[in-house]
């Protein structure tokens, strides 16, 4: 946990004002992640207590967890992109010489960014469909599309992270897994 203090996970590689925005977004994402997980635990425990102590199930418990899991997943994919934590099979890639690796990393980050932006666009389309259908959550009676609102944001932020990774690899002299992580696995497990 020590490297955490010297290496702030929210540091941005972007210059000036953009960097401020970037690191603010990183902070927001990490708060959403932590709060989402803790709320989920609280909600689930409360449901058990309600059922046993008060003979009363929280009708919205399942729906609330569904909202939280979407929030966690889509805040998390962008945060994971920032931290270079998405799972990949790097066997062949690792065997390549550094210049080829650099080229590949630009390609990988570029294609991934395009896919994420495309999914951002499609998710807006999907949300519009759900919104116009007027479907509501059976227990909470909230419009269903509300629970998806974070989805395009998550895809967009992830796409942005990969775009920046591609740019950083093109402009910097090292090879970057993400905007703030150099390639290679540390000997010690790194804290995020």
């Amino acid at each position: 946990m020590d490297d955490l203090k010297e290496n702030n996970p929210h540091d941005s590689s972007l210059p000036g004002f953009l960097g401020v925005i970037d690191s603010t977004i990183s902070r927001v994402e990490s708060v959403l992640l932590a709060a989402g997980v803790l709320l989920m635990a609280l909600n689930t425990v409360a449901n058990v207590v309600g059922r046993f102590v008060f003979q009363y199930s929280l009708f919205f418990s399942e729906e609330l967890n569904r909202i939280l899991i979407i929030l966690i997943t889509f805040a998390g994919i962008s945060y994971a992109a920032r931290q270079g934590r998405h799972i990949r099979m790097s066997a062949i890639y690792d065997a390549l010489p550094p210049p080829a690796r650099k080229g590949f990393m630009v390609l990988i980050a570029g294609v991934t960014a395009v896919v994420m932006f495309a999914l951002c666009y499609f998710s807006i389309g999907y949300i519009t469909k759900v919104a116009t259908s007027g479907r509501v959550l059976p227990s909470l009676q909230l419009p269903v599309y509300w629970i998806f609102l974070w989805v395009p944001v998550g895809f967009f932020m992830t796409g942005l992270q990969y775009t920046l990774t591609a740019v950083k690899n093109l402009t910097g002299k090292d090879i970057y897994l993400s905007t703030r992580v150099l390639e290679g696995y540390d000997k010690d497990e790194l804290e995020v």
Partner: protein
């Protein structure tokens, strides 16, 4: 053309049997083919509904209970003791009802769907760990219900502790006693193995499970009159088949349950024993009107009139 038809049950359950008959009729009377997608293969109920609305699927079977999130009035089918248990009366009712064939047709059309048919899947039975003779026996029983406000309201009114649980957790929940009861049509009790983890089946006559088959409206409207007729005829012949198929289905499935588990008790409540459930029904009806307003009230009245008109 090649059409796609998704439903909420497996191929051998009632919706699957209906879909198979529909497919056979369409393929026999036209050059079109139909591919069937049983439960889960393209997603859950809400997913296949959206796919049908978008025209990815041409046909979809979704029970009004699930449609309640889209069309609140569809929850009327959860008002207890609205529908009779007499299968022949029901068969006439679904075919001739103005509420279904005109009012609901319009509501579905607003959602981009052509309502082809509604049909019954059989009387809903309660299965529990302890015997149920009256509402008092449901006191403190954690009773699994679908996540549907009106159903929750019903079981609250019956005196139970309604516990919304996703279907995947019901078997395990009954086995580990997290819940002590659930409701479903008889054939479903057998096919899903729910009878293995409960000890008493009780018929209170409070509901008949209803389901609906729809086509994507744009797709349907674009068809030639000849094709529309093929579909209408197929829906009608499959309807006649499913009504016939279900005669004795509950009895035969119940027999299978008794063979697999002889100690299972089966109780049909008498009129007196049903009294408290019927009283509770009035509360639920009021709740339904509160939730759906004038339009819900109108449909409820029309349904009642239709039921009266189709009495034998």
């Amino acid at each position: 053309a090649d059409w796609k038809y998704a439903f909420e049950e497996s191929l051998t359950e009632v919706q699957g049997v209906y879909a198979t008959k529909f497919k056979e009729a369409v393929e026999a009377n036209s050059d079109h083919t139909i591919q069937l997608f049983p439960y889960g293969t393209l997603g859950e109920s809400a997913d296949i509904m959206e796919q049908a609305q978008a025209g990815i699927l041409q046909f979809v079977d979704q029970s009004p209970g699930f449609t309640g999130a889209l069309i609140p009035e569809a929850q009327v089918f959860f008002v207890p003791y609205l529908l009779p248990t007499d299968q022949e009366h029901l068969a006439r009712f679904y075919k001739e009802s103005k509420a279904i064939n005109e009012d609901f047709s319009e509501l579905y059309a607003e959602q981009g769907l052509e309502l082809l048919v509604m049909f019954p899947e059989g009387e809903v039975a309660m299965t529990t760990k302890e015997p149920v003779k009256s509402c008092a026996d449901l006191n403190e029983v954690k009773f699994r219900v679908m996540t549907n406000p009106l159903l929750v309201e019903s079981y609250k009114a019956f005196g139970a502790t309604p516990t919304p649980l996703p279907w995947g957790e019901v078997y395990g929940g009954l086995q580990t006693n997290i819940i002590q009861g659930q409701e479903n049509p008889t054939f479903f009790l057998y096919s899903t193995g729910i009878y293995e983890v409960t000890d008493h089946i009780t018929y209170t006559g409070h509901n008949n499970f209803t389901t609906a088959v729809m086509a994507n409206k744009d797709f349907y409207d674009s068809l030639s009159d000849a094709d529309k007729k093929v579909i209408e005829d197929a829906a009608a012949s499959a309807y006649d088949y499913i009504v016939e198929y279900q005669k004795g289905l509950a009895e035969s499935e119940l027999k299978k349950i008794k063979e697999a588990k002889p100690e299972m008790t089966v109780t049909v409540l008498s009129e007196e024993e049903r009294a408290c459930f019927k009283e509770a029904a009035a509360e639920v009806e009021a709740k339904f009107i509160e939730m759906t307003g004038e339009s819900g009230k109108a449909i409820l009245e029309q349904l009642k009139a239709d039921l009266e008109a189709t009495k034998g």
